[in-house]
């Protein structure tokens, strides 16, 4: 039996800043994971990724990352690597996204 599809967000790095970005429902990009569009359908996720990969002028390395609906109803990462990407380095709490969260 095929494994159940794990919901996904589309993520990449911003071309200019290198910062982690996420695709939102309106097709624009956000730096906050909890604002990302969570794709619960595999075909839609792949379609969104394909569109993102065509935006070479503003991002690098788009891919689908596992996510789930968090307690607040917003998407949250399921793997620690993706969780670190939403925050920044743990040795400098004032560096990266966490400085503004």
């Amino acid at each position: 039996m095929a494994r159940a599809f794990v919901p996904k967000v589309v993520t990449a790095n911003d071309l200019l800043e290198g910062d982690v970005i996420y695709l939102m429902s309106d097709g624009s990009w956000t730096r906050r994971h909890d604002e990302a569009e969570l794709y619960e359908d595999e075909a839609l996720a792949n379609e969104a990724l394909a569109k993102a990969q065509k935006q070479a002028h503003r991002l690098v390395g788009a891919y689908l990352a596992d996510a789930q609906v968090g307690e607040n109803g917003k998407p949250e990462p399921t793997h620690f690597r993706e969780a670190f990407r939403t925050r920044g380095p743990s040795n400098y709490p004032d560096h990266g996204k966490q400085a503004e969260l």
Partner: protein, 556 residues
């Protein structure tokens, strides 16, 4: 210090200009990322987890105050006010913006520095003993050879697309501080029975997923034969290295699969061909390089020992610093000072722009304008008059740079790990920080004695965990950080690969696990003088495994 000639200046500046145009074309959409990525990597620009990272080469770890100040300038102007010194004697900036990188490279070119060949399947920055030219045990200064190799390997057309990256390390001292046996080529300066200078050539060392201790392919190579011999090694590797499998592409696998005897024969055969048309570098060129590394005119004034011992006697912190961070210099009036970039609880290898300027000023005022970066992620003042030690200590203390822990438990090597690196499978920096905090009492660390803990956040082993007395390897085990421990590793002339103790430990368990190892060592060492590695070699792993896992057995 090496000096660029006009060719070097033009070459580096041209590369910056080329890269500036490449960045512009990437930004205006003329280049795709697939096209741009190899170009940026050739100029040391990586894309990591949270941002770009620029890796700048520090040739064999050698700096002067001008270069160090420029590194501080880059940190302040284009990064977040700090830089990270690495186990490759380089510096990495973790937060550059793509559009700023050409300006950063221009600023580096202003002080004869660049980021070329800090990535890619080419010969990387040659590393060397950080005590070069200063150590009391040195046979010969390795830096002129390192500089010759830098010039030879930079943009060498035959060796830009090797099967895999290629690292060369060199030492001129019998006590190996450059980990030569864990490099693709390790070079040890030796003398033969006629007392002629030459090189021992070691090939096929490496860490990573398949750690190997290098094998000697030539006990004694006359100095003039070095370049044709290295070209012979690289040719054999270039032709026979496993290009079919990235994980088997390093020369260590070729050495392992071919066997050292057969490979040596292949190298010697290629060497005979090479020698026929490869001229030794002209004597005047070698002399010109050697002249750039003439020892400074050392201050001949005798040390005021009475005054020094009085000052040291009155200041326990200074005394402690003298015991751990000050090493013998070949001039008895002088000393080598290691500035620890491992403050208790800090990030190994990080220095702020301000700290870099303090170190630059100290080098200028007291250190004949010389600085070194060690592969252990510390900074060295290689030549200081012993009379100046108290003043140097005072300045370092005011700058938060006087931690007296060199060679002790908290002098930990850690790779950037998953806090920065896109390849990492777990974090390593916070493990180092928590270990350092757990043993914050430096007196306790001194009681424990010399101990090298090395932490890597993935199997690529940038944190040298295989050669740590205690090695820690962070992995992703079913979506959770898990840390394997190895014991008994050694990166010196008695090199050894550490042995795995058994199952790994979670992030929360790893520091207590290391504490149990230390506790067991203190229980079983034969005397206070028996160092951790000696105890391990005497007893083997069993007592430590028992300390690590006995509770689990009892519970089971």
């Amino acid at each position: 210090m090496y000096q660029y000639n006009q060719f070097d200046h033009d070459f580096v500046r041209n590369r910056v200009n080329q890269f500036r145009a490449q960045v512009e074309r990437r930004l205006d959409g003329s280049l795709t990322e697939d096209e741009f990525k190899p170009l940026r990597l050739m100029n040391g620009l990586y894309l990591q987890l949270h941002a770009y990272m620029l890796r700048v080469a520090i040739p064999y770890g050698t700096l002067n105050s001008r270069k160090m100040r420029q590194l501080a300038y880059l940190a302040d102007k284009w990064d977040k006010g700090y830089g990270h010194f690495t186990t490759r004697q380089n510096i990495q900036y973790n937060w550059p913006k793509l559009k700023d990188v050409p300006d950063m490279l221009d600023a580096l070119a202003d002080v004869e520095m660049h980021a070329i060949q800090t990535s890619g399947n080419c010969i990387r920055n040659v590393t060397a003993d950080h005590f070069a030219g200063a150590a009391a045990d040195e046979i010969e200064d390795p830096r002129p050879t390192a500089e010759l190799l830098r010039q030879w390997s930079t943009d060498h057309p035959e060796f830009q697309f090797l099967p895999r990256k290629f690292k060369i390390a060199i030492t001129g001292a019998p006590n190996d501080r450059a980990v030569t046996k864990a490099h693709d080529i390790g070079i040890r300066m030796v003398r033969n029975d006629k007392n002629e200078p030459g090189y021992e050539i070691i090939v096929g060392g490496g860490l990573g997923r398949t750690p190997m201790i290098g094998k000697t392919v030539r006990e004694f190579l006359p100095k003039a034969d070095l370049l044709p011999y290295l070209e012979a090694i690289l040719q054999v590797y270039n032709l026979n290295g496993r290009r079919d499998n990235k994980y088997k592409a390093r020369i260590k696998i070729l050495v392992h699969e071919t066997g050292v005897e057969q490979l040596t024969a292949m190298i010697e055969e290629a060497f005979e061909t090479q020698k026929a048309y490869h001229q030794a570098p002209p004597a005047e060129m070698v002399e010109a390089i050697e002249a750039q590394f003439t020892p400074p005119e050392f201050d001949k004034n005798p040390v005021d020992e009475a005054k020094l011992s009085k000052v040291v006697g009155a200041d326990p912190l200074l005394r402690s610093f003298m015991e751990t961070n000050v090493h013998d210099h070949r001039e008895p009036t002088h000393a080598i000072v290691t500035i620890s970039l491992k403050p208790i609880g800090g990030t190994p290898g990080d220095a702020t722009g301000e700290q870099m300027r303090v170190m630059a000023s100290l080098a200028e005022a007291y250190g004949y304008d010389e600085l070194r970066i060690s592969h252990e992620q510390n900074v060295i003042l290689p030549h200081v008059h012993r009379d100046d030690l108290p003043e140097i200590f005072k300045v370092l203390k005011d700058a938060g740079l006087a931690t007296a822990n060199v060679g002790l438990l908290s002098d930990i090597i850690a790779c950037p790990g998953m806090d920065y690196c896109a390849l990492a499978t777990a974090r390593s920096i916070p493990v180092a920080q928590e270990l350092s905090n757990a043993f914050e009492d430096l007196k306790e660390q001194k009681d424990i004695g010399p101990l090298k803990i090395k932490i890597s956040g993935c199997i690529n082993a940038c944190g040298h965990h295989h050669v740590g007395h205690i090695g820690i390897l962070g992995l992703d085990k079913a979506g959770v950080e898990s840390y394997q421990i190895t014991l008994g590793g050694d990166g010196t002339e008695t090199a050894a690969i550490g042995e795995r103790t058994g199952p790994g430990f979670s992030y929360e368990e790893i520091v207590p696990a290391i504490e149990r190892i230390i506790g067991r060592y203190l229980e079983i060492r034969e005397s206070d003088e028996e160092e951790f590695l000696e105890t391990y070699r005497r007893t083997g792993a069993d007592p430590f495994k028992d300390a690590l896992y006995s509770d689990e057995k009892e519970a089971a």
